[in-house]
Amino acid sequence: MTAVPSTSAPLVIQAAKEAAWTILVVGLLSFLMVGYQTEVLQGQQMSFVNRFGDVIWAMVLIPIGRFLLVLARGGLLLPPAVLGGIATLYLFGAAVLGLAGSPLYGQLPLPYDQPMVNAIFGVGAVFILAAAIKGQRDRRRGAQTLEMREAAEARQARIARNMSSILGPILIVLAIVIPWTPWGDRAVVDSLVLVMTYVMLGWGLNIVVGLAGLLDLGYVAFYAVGAYTYAKLSIALGFTFWESLPIAGALAALFGVLLGFPVLRLRGDYLAIVTLGFGEIIRIVLINWQSFTGGPNGLGNITRIDFFGLPFERNPAPGTESFHTFFGLEFASTHRVFFLYYVIIVLALITNFVTIRLRKMPIGRAWEALREDETACRALGINPTNTKLTAFAIGAMFAGFAGSFFAARQGFVSPESFTFIESAVILAIVVLGGMGSQVGVALAALLLIGLPEVLRDLSLYRMLVFGGVMVLIMLWRPKGLLAYREPTLLLHGRRKRNKAGVQS
């Protein structure tokens, strides 16, 4: 505490400087995007409505947030903690009131009319609060000795490993039997299909982000490629799901290579920005290439999934068999849902199995080495571009499979399903799960996708729950739910290693 006063003056100045810059940046960015709203009047006319008030608010609030954030990161914790906490409670509380339609909302002094926009600023306040809490925790840790910290870390890693080895099989068994338990009604299994799709996407992206350490913000593009591949093949050429699955995967992988080739020389943030751009480009192409993709309306009438040639139809065309007639069952709509569920489980488990195998291959070790130190890899004669390209292509391939499954499930695809938010959600699953941890990713998908599904009745609050869960995990386990790394091969075996770990 004694060190703070002597360093706080320059810190405040620095924070003020950064806040001033932020005013400029926010002003420039939001002037055109927020400042003017285009409105289509009756007929063909368009007019601009200016919203300068909103711009001014952003130019005031965001720099204040920046100021507090810099203070918190610099070690001046109290003001950011207090103000961030109050702002969080106030903005989220107001947003909840607003979403609930309470008349009180109109009475509160708030910068914006829409509750969601206020909630977004509330998320900003959470970041400030989180920075302050983290600062406090670091300070407390700073007082601990190195050994104490290392022992604590080793203990955490051991817990994470044990949890994973117990939880993994339990989760798999649960997933397989749940449709046959009393809880396994149609709605639940339907939600689980969604969760499993994200588990698979998370595992696929984990190869790129978790293993190879490449921050890919456009992963959804490959998902879209897979979905549209099946949609087109099904509509134009009459392919079944099973026939187009490998083609969708291969095409998505090809897109991965095409994108990766020019951009994988970039590092870190630059790569993230370019991949983000690529995701948007794909989406915009899907919207604008009307003749091929159906534009914003998308493509409908895609052949639904079939049971290896037997469709799930109540009334099969004369002379053909359907699933229930072939097996002599009563028609039930659950048949298709259950089958979809087991298909996605198998696809996801294949992704998982291949990832685990790949990690122990030379290529997998090279991915991890590249994540740790690209320069050292170069010195060892490892071709960084090729190594990254394979990670990108394999990750993309699994997204392609998942996309094609998505199309077969929905029977309909449109660009709306492939927005940046999807990429962000998948990335959140990987990061929150604990980068590289397979069980962690599955748990994170269950929390982030499953929980909002359970709370579907609360409709609008779902996104708040989503944000809240994310913030809580980041606070509670900054490295992810189950962050640990198992070596790909052991010389002395597990027991000896544990003992050595305890002794040292």
Binding site: P362, R365, A366, A369, E372, A376, R378, A500
Partner: protein, 277 residues
Amino acid sequence: MSAAMAAVSPAADTLLNVERLTMRFGGLIAINDVSFVAKRRQITGIIGPNGAGKTTLFNCITGFYKPTVGRLTLHGDAGHTYLLEQMDGFRIGQKARVARTFQNIRLFTGMSVLENLMVAQHNKLMLASGYTVLGLFGWPSFRRAERDARDKAVHWLEKTRLIGVADQPAGSLPYGDQRRLEIARAMCTDPIMLCLDEPAAGLNPRESADLNSLLLSIRDEFGIGLLLIEHDMSVVMGISDHIVVLDYGRKIAEGTPLDIRNDPAVIRAYLGEDGQE
């Protein structure tokens, strides 16, 4: 064969021929017209005060920098010659088989010690795994290659006395162990030339003596050439066969340790102008 090689290069035991190397960063000339020869089965010491351009020289040899001017010829096995200044960084490790360590150690800290040594054998294993395809199916030839790679790793772990910590994360080792691991990792690439950037930095006298014998045994057992940047005079003077002295990017002296010890230009460079007799 040896006659043919003699026709190609003036001296059959030349490993690396550095000719008129210059490296400029904007206005700064980090290496200025430096030429020297490093021989097989020899330890060539590179010394010089801070900022003399030693690390920059290594970065040119190992392809991290493209030299502004000059030629770097490596005479490989079986009469192959490589013009290093024209090769991509990673190909110098892969094809020309030049390995290096870094002044500020660069290990894969999150991976285990053993894994670090397996990654070093990537190219060989990649081929054996049929670019992963055969490997995924557990092809026998891949399993054999993997076992051989592991044996090689174990051999180096024993040689560097790291066998007991083979399964620990590399980042958790003490400093001296990390230095030795980096050398072991470089040796696992089967190099014909090994470039060491201050391997004795931060070692205590006992570790430093150990290092000397390790480097000598690498030279004698594997017959490879070593380039050794070092500030610790007991190491350089003790084990170098030949020494090149750089100062402000220029080569100011070259010769045996004894020559260098008595060279007035070297004494001046190290002691500064005040030290002039």
